[in-house]
Amino acid sequence: MSMLTVTIDGKITTVPAGSTILDAAKKLDVDIPTLCYLNLEDLRINNKGASCRICVVEVEGRRNLAPACATPASDNMVVKTNTLRVLNARKTVLELLLSDHPKDCLVCAKSGECELQNLAEKFGIRESPYDGGEMSHYRKDISTSIIRDMDKCIMCRRCETMCNDVQTCGVLSGVNRGFSAVVAPAFEMNLADTVCTNCGQCVAVCPVGALVEHDHTWEVVDALANPDKVVIVQTAPAVRSALGEDLGIAPGTSVTGKMAAALRRLGFDHVFDTDFAADLTIMEEGSEFLDRLTRHLNGDQTAKLPILTSCCPGWVKFFEHNFPDMLDVPSTAKSPQQMFGAIAKSYYAEILGIPREKLVVVSVMPCLAKKYECARPEFAVDGNPDVDIVISTRELARLIKRMNIDFAGLPDEDFDNPLGESTGAAPIFGVTGGVIEAALRTAYELATGETLQKLEFEDLRGMDGVKVATVQVGPHALRIGVAHGLGNARKLLERVRAGEAFHAIEVMACPGGCIGGGGQPYHHGDIELLKLRTKVLYDEDAGKPLRKSHQNPYIIELYEKFLGKPLSEKSHHLLHTHYFKRQRL
């Protein structure tokens, strides 16, 4: 590849042809501010509309300023990033953005995390010379998962890229023109009425407070303070991989023990783990898979393959909207969150000897779609939901700070039992390829009766958008597909629809899996963070004495005492669900 020599602020570097000025600047550690730019290379997520104009730089021989994020470097290019002309231009751009932005940082969900706020601080904007002009006003849209406050939108269009190009949900589009231009669903209707999967990737990339999670922390506080309620909590695998980032602990540090301790300090009556339900999911889904596979191999036409995982509520809503002809393909197993809720409000309520209404189940999830999932009517008994409140990883961090808990100083503590124990198969639910790997570990042993020698399915790991591998399970060579990101899932599903043969497919809606979920601490475009989170989960798996779901003693006990066996009538009633054909709007 040909190399280009580029001089930036007097420093010289070489970059491969095709690089941008911004790439070259990064190499030289020259900081150029960006807002609309987003590049998660390993995930092939790239937004460089060059629309915000905050990254403009002076290029020798060019008439006007050039956007560093979108201007290709050329050989012997001379760039200046800190001249008065550049600084004044950036300042004007900021002042203009601020002149059409509510200055309610004090009460904004994004305060402290807001990229616009950071830049205003960096540039020392102390007054807003264009104040008093017209400001755009849009209707606030509050869905169960996401709050859209487009008054704060700076038109960076990152959300649009995520929704259309990466997730292919097509909910958001630039609408209107000129000063009224904004990103919105068709007819500017509410997200809840659209094909939105609530995956929250728009929220994950929004640089300002225009798209944020629907915060439910105060509901948790209220429940905890209510003496009439028994409040229990479950935490999803990916939460522990990232929670520390928002609480002053270095990224890539597992905080499982501190998290359990913090939840106990917050006042939860019992601190449980969704990982327990992940093991349970493997029992049900793995059994369903083996059952379907056996029937399919015996020529039963009603036994459809491949089986699709159904842990991910964003994915579930996506296929309900986009693949209504294939609703009999996904596993009927509920997600771990909902299995946990169903078991908690039946089995565990029985153990406690209280009615389900007295029990409040709180989930901590890396996900915003989980908020929507727990509100789906089929996951309630007489109007009482199996899971009452869902908060995201970010919200938990907020709650811990609000309650004055010195997180870093907490001791490591264990989860409570019986719903807190898990095997190594559970934490990897949080990363792409993990669910199918966990399922294969169990399916292999159940199907063959042999002990699986190598537990790591390397072919199913990694950040490739679509992974396909053939896995030998006894006499059967199983063709397995893995997709993360809904756009990749769509591609894989279209291959299935076109007749390509798979035995099992895992889909996670968010790029990278739950570790990159819409409710995780903001990555601000840093792909390294996602890699560190992945490592936390694989390490946790490797460090566990038991690494196969069917070995979990409390799962064995649950079946012995309550459910009978996987796919029993009781299991079906509590742990399985069905899907709905949904309109494309």
Binding site: K140, I142, N164, V175, A186, F187, M189, C374, A375
Partner: protein
């Protein structure tokens, strides 16, 4: 329990539902089927749909989205971008007032004002009886006749605010 709430601040822009004749839909389908490929022809199809239906209500946009295999939000994004596309039916006699530079310097803004006063509607609106609607448009290229007003196909040149009443009386 978490529920969805809509805070109806500001206006909801969801257009009213309309029941439109089936043969018109068939005409649009035939047009789409005759295209060499669907990709890249969204604007073309919207032009066709608007010429068939007269406007682009929600049903038509949804229909186009389904048949062109693009998200509805994208269709709406395009419709709301171009001033030629309208989501409300025009009046029986659509009034278009040219606001090109030549017309402006010859007082087109005063003519607009006079029409608004006379009809008691704003730009982009239709009179309650559906008879007239007012729109401004970019240069029609008839600068010699500035200011120019078109009512349907009929062109009025050198229009003064004083003539507005008389023009309306023609219809």
């Amino acid at each position: 329990m978490q529920t969805s709430t809509c805070q109806m601040v500001g206006e909801c822009r969801m257009p009213e539902h309309a029941v439109l004749p089936q043969p018109l839909y068939r005409e649009v389908v035939q047009f789409i089927e005759a295209l060499p490929q669907k990709e890249g022809h969204l604007v073309t199809v919207l032009h066709k749909a608007q010429s068939v239906f007269g406007y682009l209500p929600i049903e038509v946009q949804q229909f186009v989205a389904d048949h062109m295999e693009v998200p509805l939000a994208q269709v709406y994004g395009v419709v709301s971008f171009y001033t030629f596309f309208t989501m409300v039916p025009k009046g029986k006699h659509p009034i278009s007032i040219c606001m090109g530079t030549a017309c402006f310097v010859k007082g087109a803004d005063k003519v607009v004002h006079a029409f608004k006063e006379q009809l008691k509607i704003d730009i982009g609106d239709v009179t309650p009886d559906g008879k007239f609607s007012i729109d401004t448009l970019r240069c029609v290229g008839g600068c010699a006749l500035a200011p120019i007003v078109m009512v349907g196909d009929k062109v009025y040149g050198n229009v003064t605010p004083g003539q507005v009443k008389k023009i309306l009386a023609d219809f």
